[in-house]
């Protein structure tokens, strides 16, 4: 599965699987894979390999992550919206039952954890849970199926699990962080500043120490939120790739690799659900903390 210019080795295979389809701006003077040099003012183009993607820096976008993530989000919205349109007080059946089960589960979790009054939290939690679950679910699709199919169609790189891209998970975590800050200031007002400066040592002398500790604690929340999901999914994907690589080790490895594949996939069903649930619960908890006025 190596791209042109890369050797067909295990490490090449793994690296290829971990490279996003990147579109971005190459800086001026950069020497491209085919030896041409980028002209004055840089150029927007598809990255060819990890080195070019790295050279693009911040001015790049992971097309695959973005498309899969938005596509899955649209699937979520479409399914739930079609159910919402059909939802009536009559006897529920089929998809309506399944969707209502999820909604009720999320609603119960929000009610148990979040004690303020906020119309945003429950839909936010539902979106996070289902969307993250769908993104994680992509992990269960055999690692080579879609990337290889797309490669035959001319798309060089493809990472189909959006939650193995730190941009995706951190994007959501930062979104949650913004909401945390917004509600902290809105609900607590000046109390938020007091919370940052007079905790845990309630004396003016300790204000710098308090501020440092509280800010670190505050910043740790979005990072732990985003990186936990990313780390779990990345590691899971990595193991799927390694098991897939094991198939190439010879005919004798087919059976153990197959068994490993099945075992890890079954275990991963638990992981993807759990990670989606953790992301949702932590979001609710963080927003609940933002609403608590001491």
């Amino acid at each position: 599965m190596a791209a042109a210019g890369e050797e067909l080795t295990i490490s090449g295979y793994i690296v290829h699987h971990l490279t996003n389809l990147t579109y971005g701006k190459l800086p001026a003077g950069f020497e491209r894979y085919d030896g041409s040099v980028v002209g004055e003012g840089g150029t927007w183009t598809m990255a060819h390999g990890g080195a070019e993607a790295a050279a693009m820096g911040f001015n790049a976008i992971h097309v695959d992550s973005m498309l899969w993530s938005i596509g899955l989000g649209i699937i979520f919205c479409w399914i739930f919206r079609s159910v919402a349109k059909k939802a009536a007080a009559g006897v529920p059946s089929g998809l309506l039952n399944a969707v209502e089960m999820v909604v009720e589960f999320v609603d119960g979790t929000v009610r148990d954890t979040f004690h303020g009054h906020n119309k945003l939290v429950a839909p936010l939690a539902l979106t996070i849970f289902v969307w993250v679950f769908l993104m994680n679910l992509m992990d269960l699709i055999p690692v080579d199926l879609i990337p290889h199919t797309l490669m035959l169609l001319g798309v060089e790189y493809q990472k189909i699990v959006p939650s193995t891209d730190p941009n995706i998970t951190m994007g959501m975590a930062v979104g949650v962080f913004v909401l945390m800050l917004y509600y902290s200031i809105k609900v607590k007002g000046f109390g938020f500043v007091k919370e940052l400066t007079l905790n845990p040592f309630n004396h003016w002398v300790f204000i710098p120490i308090n501020l440092f500790m509280e800010v670190v604690g505050l910043l740790a929340k979005p990072f732990s939120l985003g990186l936990r999901l990313f780390g779990n999914m990345y590691a899971g994907e990595m193991i799927f790739i390694l098991i897939a690589a094991l198939f190439s080790a010879g005919i004798a490895w087919m059976v153990p690799a197959g068994l490993l594949q099945i075992g890890w996939a079954i275990f991963h069903i638990l992981v993807i659900t759990l990670q989606a649930f953790i992301f949702m619960v932590l979001t609710i908890v963080y927003l609940s903390m933002a609403h608590e006025d001491h």
Binding site: L18, T22, G24, A53, A54, M56, G57, F58, N59, A60, I61, H62, S65, M66, S69, I70, G73, F76, C77, F80, R81, V83, A84, K85, A87, A88, A89, G90, P92, V99, E100, V103, E104, D107, K119, L120, A122, P123, L124, L126, T127, W131, D165, P166, N167, I168, M170, G171, M172, V174, G175
Partner: protein, 156 residues
């Protein structure tokens, strides 16, 4: 594994999906679920009420049945009493009738006896006279010996 514009893109997509969910997904589903909850609660309450009514109706039916049984027992009792009374009355009437019949029969028998006795007495008197006439060979004056004959006849 670079942090880049994808982060911003994801944040925008995230906000968009959350807003969509908040406006068009959550409220109708929750409304439907709450309405159904209420409907089910109403239904359960109605079922409770109905079963309570059923219980009451059952009690009433049992009571009515008991009343009817008592009434029937009363009627049977009265009928039995009446029947006994009728039997008693009939018995009494029969006794009276039997007594009456017996009495009249007895009276008749007595009458017959008396008549027979009178007749016998007359015949005895005549026979005795005839006998005596034969014995004496002479007619006995009926008038003259009437006293004697009468005495004889009464001694018979």
């Amino acid at each position: 594994m670079n942090i880049n514009l994808t982060l911003i893109g994801q944040m925008i997509a995230f906000a968009g999906f959350v807003l969509f969910c908040m406006k068009y997904v959550w409220p109708p589903i929750m409304a439907a679920m709450e309405e159904r909850e209420k409907k089910i609660a109403d239904g359960l309450a109605a079922a409770d009420r109905a079963s309570h009514d059923l219980e009451l109706a059952k009690e009433k039916a049992v009571e009515r049945l008991k009343e009817a049984k008592e009434e029937a027992a009363g009627i049977v009792d009265a009928a039995n009493k009446r029947a006994a009374q009728l039997v008693e009355e009939a018995k009494d009437a029969a006794t009276v009738e039997a007594d009456r019949v017996k009495a009249s029969a007895q009276a008749e028998i007595e009458q017959e006896t008396n008549r027979a006795r009178e007749q016998l007495r007359g015949q005895v008197a005549a026979l005795s006279l005839a006998g005596a006439e034969k014995v004496l060979g002479a007619a006995i004056d009926r008038e003259a010996h009437n006293e004697l004959v009468e005495k004889l006849a009464s001694e018979l």
